[in-house]
């Protein structure tokens, strides 16, 4: 049963990435300047010579097949704008983005959960007012502006991601914990004089754990794309900064690979949260 569940997630992940890659390859293939090189602007070269240099036109599926074959052999192609192998760029920059994601989203999740727990345990307007006000302001600012404000304060880009992830995590987790805290068995425990800390750890958190894990997945799927503007404005050398550079330089092969990489990270985050949440639900 568990194996079947895991296999279903794995198949879904692979299919989504393959279809995303196909869409990306189609975009590259139909892009206006596909197969055109800067050589064609050189007035010293004859039209016949330039046309002779052009690669043979290939269909979208064949192009995608060649691309997948290359990926299977570790060859992601070459970035036309940076004139470097895309695999090499990924090896250099992916760890930076993953580090930003781990620290930034991790801190946002922890902070969001802590604030939500404090609000549920103390149930005072003040315990709610501070996180609600801060999350409202943070939700009203674009992530790129948050990145610049954190840069201005001299803080690392990962903290800007914390500011993006925290308000969403807080809002959802506060709602989930409040619902769990209103359950009849929790009310009974409170009536019997069980301490707030024990109520939280023994009664509220176990009931809300599957939903909280789903929120972790949501934070990852929200956090990784939010790194695009943050890395771009904070000049953090991650893959998401590369994505913006690729977009500005119309480097579609690089963009497609980066979209696939981002999809894999987001889908793995979602799948991990789904699986652990499902396991918890079955156990309870």
């Amino acid at each position: 049963m568990a194996l079947r569940f895991l296999a279903k997630h794995a198949v879904r992940l692979v299919l989504t990435v393959l279809i995303a890659g196909l869409l990306g390859a189609a975009l590259v293939r139909i892009a206006p300047a596909f197969g055109v090189s800067e050589q064609e602007l050189d007035p010293r070269l004859s039209r016949e010579f330039v046309q002779g240099q052009r690669p043979e036109p290939v269909g979208i599926l064949r192009y995608y097949g060649q691309f997948l074959y290359g990926v299977a052999h570790g060859d992601f192609g070459e970035s036309p704008s940076l004139q470097r192998p895309i695999g090499e760029l990924l090896r250099e920059r992916l760890p930076v983005s993953l580090e930003n994601l781990a620290f930034g989203a991790g801190a946002g999740i922890v902070l969001g959960f802590l604030c939500a727990m404090v609000a549920v345990v103390f149930r005072s307007p003040l315990a709610r007012a501070v996180p609600v006000a801060s999350s409202t302001v943070l939700l009203s600012l674009p992530s790129a502006a948050l990145g610049l404000l954190f840069l201005l304060a001299g803080w690392p880009p990962a903290m800007a991601l914390t500011a993006v992830v925290f308000p969403r995590v807080y809002r959802y987790s506060a709602a989930v914990l409040a619902r769990s805290a209103d359950a009849s068995h929790v009310l009974a425990a409170r009536a019997r004089g069980v301490s707030p800390g024990r109520i939280l750890c023994v009664h509220v958190l176990p009931g809300a754990a599957p939903q909280l894990l789903a929120i972790v997945g949501m934070a990852i799927s929200l956090g990784f794309p939010a790194l695009v503007p943050i890395e771009a404005v904070c000049d953090s050398p991650g893959v998401m900064q590369l994505a913006l550079k690729a977009a500005m330089a119309r480097d579609l092969p690089l963009l497609v690979v980066l979209t696939m990489v981002a999809s894999v990270v987001v889908l793995i985050g979602n799948a991990a949260a789904d699986i652990s949440s499902d396991v918890l639900r079955r156990e309870s």
Binding site: T16, I19, A20, G24, L27, A31, P32, V132, T136, V137, L139, S140, L141, P142, S143, A144, A145, L148, L149, L151, L152, S221, F224, P225, A226, V228, P229, A232, V233, A243, L244, A246, A247, M248, R250, D251, L252, L255, V256, L258, T259, A262, S263, V266, L267, N270
Partner: protein, 265 residues
Amino acid sequence: MLRWSAVAALLAILAAGLFANWIAPHGYADQDRESPNLSPSRQYPLGTDELGRDRFSRLLYGTRVSLLLAPAAAAISIAVAVALGGFTAYAGAGWARASSLVTDLMLSLPTILILLTVRAMLPLNVSALASIVITCVLIGALNYPPAARVIGAGVDALLKSDFILQARATGQSPGRILIRQLMPGIRPVLIAQFWLLVPVFVMAEANLSLLGLGVSEPMPSWGNLLRELENYSAIPERPWVLAPLGVLMVTVLCLYAILPSGEPA
């Protein structure tokens, strides 16, 4: 009461943007090369930028662009979602599954990267008006999946209801059922989705324009006005450069958050 206050405040801000031609003391592209980076004065209420353009006038025009672009994009998203929801409701199980698969796929992919990819395919050096249209259509068309999921579920629930069954039994045509029975039933969902999408799209436009892929200069929008943050070292000495824009953005987005439920977010 709170909702009506929010509506009134939003309308006032929108009116200031719409009537920018009359309210703004200068045009958004007028340059006074003799007076760049001025502090606030009677002539320039929020000072001037590095090209000598009046910041207050640009804020008013930028408000117009951002506050009109986001609802237009939200309307496009809702239209796509309704078309897909309606289509899958009538087209049979195979099409419904295919449509659901596409929606799932779109939900799994990071929207900002799809936006970047599609925007990179289109010409970057376009007129200001064309850049507004491109940004609006892209944001609206690529962000439909969450709305499609909710609207699709609403349509599905309505189609299983007794009054639709009765309408079918009385021989009403699918078109008539769609217009007379389904649309009124689904209207509250559409309105709620619209008001939820607008602030999201205000932020999407701001992010895209701040990155140089949205509304292009010299037309101001909140996103490209925020580009002044790039010169961040000067901000502590000159808070008037971005503080009014920041306050306006936070205010407007909070007001939008109040609209659907009538309660503070």
